[in-house]
Amino acid sequence: MAQHTLTLKKTLLASAMAATLAGTAFVSTAAQAENTLRMAYDADPVSLDIHEQLSGGILQLSHMTHDPLVRWNDALEFEPRLASDWEQVNDTTMRMSLREGVKFHSGNTFTADDVVWTIERLKRSPDFKAIFDPIENVTAVDDHTVEITTKKPYPLLLNLATYVFPMDSAYYSGEAEDGDSKDEIVKNGNSFASRNVSGTGPYTVANRQQGVRTEFERNPNYWDTESPGNVDTIVLKPISENATRVAALLSGDVDFIAPVPPNDLERVRESEDAKLVTMSGTRIIFFHMNQDRVEAFKDPRVRQAFAYAVNQEAIADRLMKGFATPAAQFSPKGYAGHVESLELRHDLERAQTLMAEAGYADGFDITMMAPNNRYVNDAKIAQAVAAMLARINVDVDLSTLPKAQYWGEYDDRAADMMLIGWHADTEDSANFHEYLTACVDLDTGAGQYNAGNYCNPALDELVAEANVEVDRDKRAAMLQEVEQTLYDEAAILPLHWQDLAWASANHVNIEPVVNVMNFPYLGDLVMDAK
């Protein structure tokens, strides 16, 4: 409320001043001022090729220069974009109608062929091919209809469609000056697609100096004429240093920043010049307890004791300054597998009793590893957990590493407890289990990040069934059963979902365009006159 009043006062003052000025000296030209949004992210996209890397930065870019077939709305439901309608033809086939009259930045017309071309290219991309693997083939029925066939019944096809940002197939065909094919995907290389972009999106790339600034301009022929967006130019600057990014916003150098570091939340919230928007996120931060390395972890009572020993609320409140939602399971609210009834279990006495029951009243020694620059406050969280475990006589030898070294150690399962954060690329609960708690199988890649070596074949089967169950309710019930079991057996030690935060100048209305996936729909952004 206080903020609103202040904003109002300012606006009044500004208009009063403007009126005075206009009345005395100036003849107002009444020209509509250009709306320029100056924004700062922690990093800029590594490439303009949206298939080069599967990362937040690239997806944020994709939503600016391209449009997906469908996208998530606030309630985590699907909103039609380039696909205007869809129907399940049979268990393995879906037919999608595509929007007509859409043009690419190059002027080419968007057709079903572009969708086919894009999905085929995704299946070649090293980063995307794994998640597009369920798709058998895509065919253009006519200019504005495609049919997507999956190898097996696949309930997450629409989730996948949020990753399909049709590219301008004609534009990317043929050879570039250097003789390479224009559509090749080169990791960290200098391909045609990494320098040139033609999508259907609300913005075109006007100028780009990697790592310095990227300038976007509003696509004058944007198909979505109902979009309220009124931003003409966006200047994106990467400011990797947290405090610098905040300072830039507060000093008025930029109008919009993300992410906002927890230590500066208060500063932004209290500022009269900026506003803060936070949202409970979907990235779960948790510890694996390695059963192969520590015999004691094979005993569910010990794992439960750990779960009871940790005070998630204290971490969220003290270390994260309220910038996290304490978690007792993988799936955040809104996900199919989320079980409302699972509660935090902090209870030190119970933890001590369980340890005693398991025969470890005197505790034991373990090693713990965490990155120190990957997640918000990661190293501090690990320290706090180590301190909490000391209460049940578990002596923790903690080391924290920069992420560049951490993932190597993670792949080697180098410590008894390892911290990791996970965001399901598919926004779906099954993804958590497949990567994090499924029985490790090197051939299929199941349990690739399961550094706890937890293995419950019954759950694997349940998830496999869920993955071919097209009925959403039935599927949700299965996934909830998985979460419940993981909770009961204390398969992992969940801590919290890291919140998301954005901050902007008062005249930039970011609330309606930000979302839990952290891909702000900047095409719909409205800026008020200052």
């Binding site: 090293p126 980063d127 990697q210 990797s240 610098t244 300072a247 150098d253 690329d425 990040y449």
Partner: protein, 348 residues
């Protein structure tokens, strides 16, 4: 003379060779760059392919030969993080560091010369003692602490209320010792582009305010050294027969101090100053870390954190080159001006 020159240049080359070996040897031992480049769910087979493609699996000597040949042409490869030639990345970060060093040097020179000269002329004056006392305190405060204290005082602000707040004199005194804060203490703000990638903080008042705290911090550590050095040299020169003779000739004291004595003081000061360039570079790393000043020092630390091997190697090579060049020049100047250095370079 020629022999001396050749010998010094040979030394310089030798040092560069050693640096290149050290710089290169790091490559095998720093974290895995692949982890930085791909998403979390990319399978191992793709990673192995990429590793092969980048030549990370070649034997040490093959990689070194490739490195040395390219390095000689100032080609150090592409930064893994920025996906640009490392020399370009460094060129982009260089102006920030140079401007910081320039501003600090300006402060050091304009302050150390008058203070040093004054405390040499009047060694017993209370002001001289004060300066000497301050300078030893200055030497004892690590540069990052000076920086942190400056941030607390002038960026965040401190309100002290040791005097009663409800009296006029009390609140006046409280205000007097409290600081308001508000000075920019992070980054460079919006530097003005000059040409190419060079953006400057000197062209606008706003830019200068961003420069103040970092430059003062950086200067604070070198200033005491130079004050003490100038003072000591000046004291020595003042005792020399040459000055005594000038004085006997009846030349005015002011002229003796600032023309004759100072001139003779400057040579050793400049040579020492040249050698101190290395120390200054080290301190820029610390200063830039505290103020998140986007220069080469910050870039170097980031590169270490991110295992951006080509960038680390390039930084070491370029900083090494800067050191070797300045030292060689200082050596040559010193050798030319000071006849007591044996130009043949043979040990006595």
């Amino acid at each position: 003379m020629i022999a001396f020159l050749v010998k010094r240049l040979f030394h310089a080359l030798l040092v560069m060779f050693v640096i290149s070996i050290i710089a290169f040897a790091i490559q095998d031992n720093l974290g895995d760059p692949i982890q930085q480049m791909v998403g979390q769910s990319v399978p191992e087979s793709e990673r192995a392919e990429l590793r092969e493609e980048l030549g990370l699996n070649d034997p040490f000597l093959v990689q070194y030969a490739r490195f040395a040949i390219n390095a000689a042409q100032f080609d150090f490869g592409y930064s893994y993080v920025f996906n640009q030639p490392t020399t370009e990345v460094i060129a982009r970060h260089l102006p920030a560091t140079l401007e910081l060093v320039a501003a600090a040097t300006f402060l050091i020179i304009t302050l150390s010369v008058p203070i040093g000269v004054y405390s040499a002329i009047k060694p017993r004056a209370w002001l001289s003692r004060f300066f000497m006392g301050i300078s030893i305190v200055g030497i004892s405060i690590p540069v990052f602490l000076t920086a942190i204290m400056l941030i607390q005082l002038f960026a965040i602000g401190v309100s002290w209320t040791p005097f009663p707040v409800d009296t006029a004199w009390g609140s006046w005194l409280n205000d007097l010792i409290s600081t308001e804060g508000g000075m920019p203490a992070y980054g460079r703000g919006n530097p003005v582009p000059v040409f190419g990638t060079w953006e400057t903080n000197f062209a606008s008042l706003e830019g200068l305010t961003y420069l103040v705290l970092p430059a003062v911090s950086l200067a604070s550590i070198m200033l005491p050294l130079f004050i003490r050095l100038i003072r000591a040299e000046m004291l020595e020169v003042m005792q020399s027969d040459y000055v005594k003779f000038a004085r006997a000739k009846g030349i005015s004291m002011r002229r003796i101090y600032f023309l004759h004595a100072l001139k003779n003081t400057m040579l050793p000061v400049i040579t020492v100053g040249g050698v101190q360039i290395g120390t200054l570079v080290a301190y820029t790393i610390l200063t830039e870390t505290v103020f998140q000043w986007p220069g080469m020092g910050l870039m170097f630390l980031d590169a270490i954190e991110r295992s951006d091997i080509p960038l680390i190697v390039t930084y070491l090579m370029i900083v090494g080159l800067i050191f070797v060049i300045t030292n060689t020049i200082v050596d040559l100047i010193y050798g030319l001006v000071n006849p007591t250095v044996k130009l043949t370079g043979k040990p006595a």
